[in-house]
């Protein structure tokens, strides 16, 4: 028999007064996968995580975690999940070591020393173990918080915007650590406002105004939109943008510094039309590349379809 999904929700909803924070969410995440819930601020990402770890009670719908039902088996579930909230609070006046010990105690882990060594090595925090948490850099605090979340060897890790406010170097470090976790057969559900991060996961769910617009693998999602994205580098990029936008030739055009991204529904017809139009306008083309549309293009088209 195959193991139960790490997360399984059916018609999960949550309202606060008149506001619907999460609407009719049905989702299944197999064990051992990395799942990204992506969406802007206020889309309901944090509420979903809180519902999944039993901090919030749903208005409607059901949640099963690793085959166990919420809220009936809350205590058993709690032992199996690690929840990394936004503003996860470390104790600033305790050392790295002491913080980990503290969280081990909270989770009732008596034999934490070996696990602590392992995690400190793994996150390269070992040289800083006696330093007060207050005196760590932002990226190191983030790593320490992750270590504290992992001390009780959870099977499901819920991470709420773990890389928001983290600089690119620490962010990459953090992703290496997350990927290494996959060898421990942990399931990771993380939220992020960044589509480039979502793209690194096995599955991506796009959340907007509490509704799950779509959930699938990044490749399947990109395939779903169809079409082609042209990356054009040209002279007078702003004029080229205006010309293309007014032409009604194409579905979408966006300006990125020295580059235009042009979304085509039908490459065979439109690619030449675009090229000719720019020629006619006397715009020099310096670079021309056709790529698959990005997740952002799909997100935008789904948001527009929703109205």
């Amino acid at each position: 028999m195959s193991p139960p999904p790490a997360v399984e929700t059916l018609g999960l909803s949550k309202s606060f007064g008149d506001t619907t924070a999460v609407a009719d969410l049905t989702l299944s995440i197999p064990q051992g996968q990395m799942f990204a819930l992506v969406g802007p601020d206020g889309a309901g990402k944090t509420t979903v995580l809180r519902l999944l770890c039993g901090v919030l009670a749903p208005t409607d719908g059901t949640v099963r975690i690793l085959g166990m039902e919420l809220p009936r088996e809350l205590e058993r579930i709690k032992r199996r999940i690690g929840y990394f909230s936004q503003g996860f609070s470390l104790y600033g006046d305790l050392s790295v070591d002491e913080n980990i010990e503290f969280f081990a105690e909270i989770h009732g882990v008596e034999e934490f020393r070996k696990r602590r060594e392992e995690l400190l090595q793994f996150t390269r925090l070992e040289p800083f173990r006696r330093r007060q948490a207050d005196r760590l850099s932002g990226g190191m605090k983030q790593k320490l918080a992750l270590v504290c979340t992992l001390i009780h060897r959870p099977s499901l890790l819920l991470l709420d915007e773990p890389t928001t406010g983290v600089d690119p170097v620490s962010r990459r470090d953090f992703w290496v650590i997350l990927s290494s976790l996959m060898t421990e057969d942990i399931t990771v559900l993380l939220t992020t406002p960044y589509l480039d991060e979502a793209e690194r996961c096995h599955q991506v769910g796009m959340l907007q105004s509490g509704r799950l617009l779509v959930a699938d693998s990044p490749a399947a999602l990109r395939g779903r939109l169809g079409g082609t994205l042209l990356e054009i580098i040209c002279s007078e990029v702003r004029r080229a943008f205006a010309v293309l936008k007014e032409s009604s030739l194409i579905a979408e055009v966006q300006i990125f510094g020295d580059r235009l991204d042009v979304l085509l529904d039908n490459r065979t017809v439109q690619e030449n039309q675009v090229r000719e139009l720019l020629h006619r306008e006397g715009i020099d083309i310096l670079g021309w590349r056709a790529v698959q549309p990005r997740l952002e293009n799909l997100f935008i088209s789904l948001m527009k379809a929703e109205g």
Partner: protein, 326 residues
């Protein structure tokens, strides 16, 4: 504007020391008028110290800069009148309406009633906020709020605007509309300086300056940076057991650089190897069904790839290793 009509910002050997710590070390750069200029760096790289000096809030220790033709140390008041500032956590008053916020900021900038009226109209038009004039700011969505913040930051028609992580956490449609606005402003001659450590946000800049440990590591257009820093192809490998696959790849002499991206790996071979040969070798190396190899695709590197590569180069040169202050 002063002598340098074509440059909104000219910095020459700009330095800032705090005691024995050098936060900014002899940085020189030019920002052409009407460009969107990105200032990038990790936390503690010196970005915000540079911005504070350019805004006239902090004196330089040595070297100088002009902003809109005014000297940042000697003419800081004129500098302040010519710049606008907006951050993602911009302090709009949430319990005021859109109209009240605009009036309030007009007052701060010392605009007359008449001017505020005229600019109010302009901001409403630009930001598409006309229907929302009497809505409480707290009731606006992230995208609307952001456009209002931009409007308030440019009420006094500054020549230069500083944007600090302006679209962090905003939905993709609003974000796209925001950048269209910024491009229109830039086309009209306003210069835009953006600081962010979200590299996908930096892709919107015309020119980029990469700062690390208070020094300039690289500058150019996003395209130039990608081409000059990263030679040869970058391949994305989708497989299972990423970490084992990574170790196997790292032991190969023809692999120059690897990185894990969640469920995928990025691999950069020696430039001489070429795309097809690299692809063949990766397929062979990971042919064990254990890896469930799903794809080996050539990808276009992101600014993040460039950034990490440059910083690693820099760090291995100086072998500092330790993390800087945050």
């Amino acid at each position: 504007m002063g002598s340098g009509d074509s440059f909104a910002v000219e910095a020459a050997d700009l330095s800032k020391r705090f005691g024995r710590f050098t936060a900014v070390d002899a940085v020189s750069f030019l920002v052409p008028r009407g460009t969107i200029f990105g200032l990038l760096g990790a936390n503690g790289a010196g970005k915000s110290t540079i911005i504070r000096m350019l805004c006239g809030l902090l004196r330089s220790s040595s070297g100088t800069a002009t902003v809109a033709g005014f000297d940042i140390n000697r003419q800081s008041e004129q500098v302040k009148q010519n710049i606008g500032y907006m951050s993602q956590r911009f302090s709009l008053y949430l319990d005021l309406t859109v109209r009240e916020n605009i009036r309030f900021f007009g007052g701060i900038y010392g605009l007359s009633r008449e001017e505020v009226g005229r600019r109010l109209d302009w901001v409403l038009e630009m930001a598409g906020l006309r229907q929302r004039l009497d809505d409480l700011t707290s009731e606006l969505s992230g995208g609307w709020r952001q456009r209002l913040a931009l409007g308030c930051a440019i009420l006094h028609s500054p020549r230069i605007i500083f944007l600090d992580e302006p679209t962090a956490g905003v939905d993709p449609v609003s974000r796209r509309e925001f950048w269209e606005l910024i491009n229109e402003l830039a086309a009209g001659g306003t210069t835009v300086l953006i600081t962010t450590h979200y590299l996908d946000e930096a892709e919107y800049a015309n020119r980029i300056l990469l700062i690390h440990s208070g020094r300039i590591v690289a500058q150019g257009t996003p395209g130039e940076l990608k081409n000059s820093v990263l030679h040869g192809p970058t391949l994305e490998v989708s497989c299972s057991r990423c970490i084992e696959a990574l170790k196997r790849l790292q032991s190969q002499p023809w692999v120059r650089q690897t990185a894990v991206f969640g469920s995928t790996l990025h691999v950069r071979p020696l430039a001489s190897l070429g795309l097809e040969e690299t692809r063949r070798r990766i397929r062979e190396l990971l042919s064990d069904p254990l890896f469930e190899l799903r794809g080996v695709e050539s990808i276009f590197p992101s600014l993040e790839d460039v950034f990490i590569q440059l910083i690693e180069r820099q760090d291995s040169a100086s072998e500092s290793g330790a993390e800087g202050p945050s």
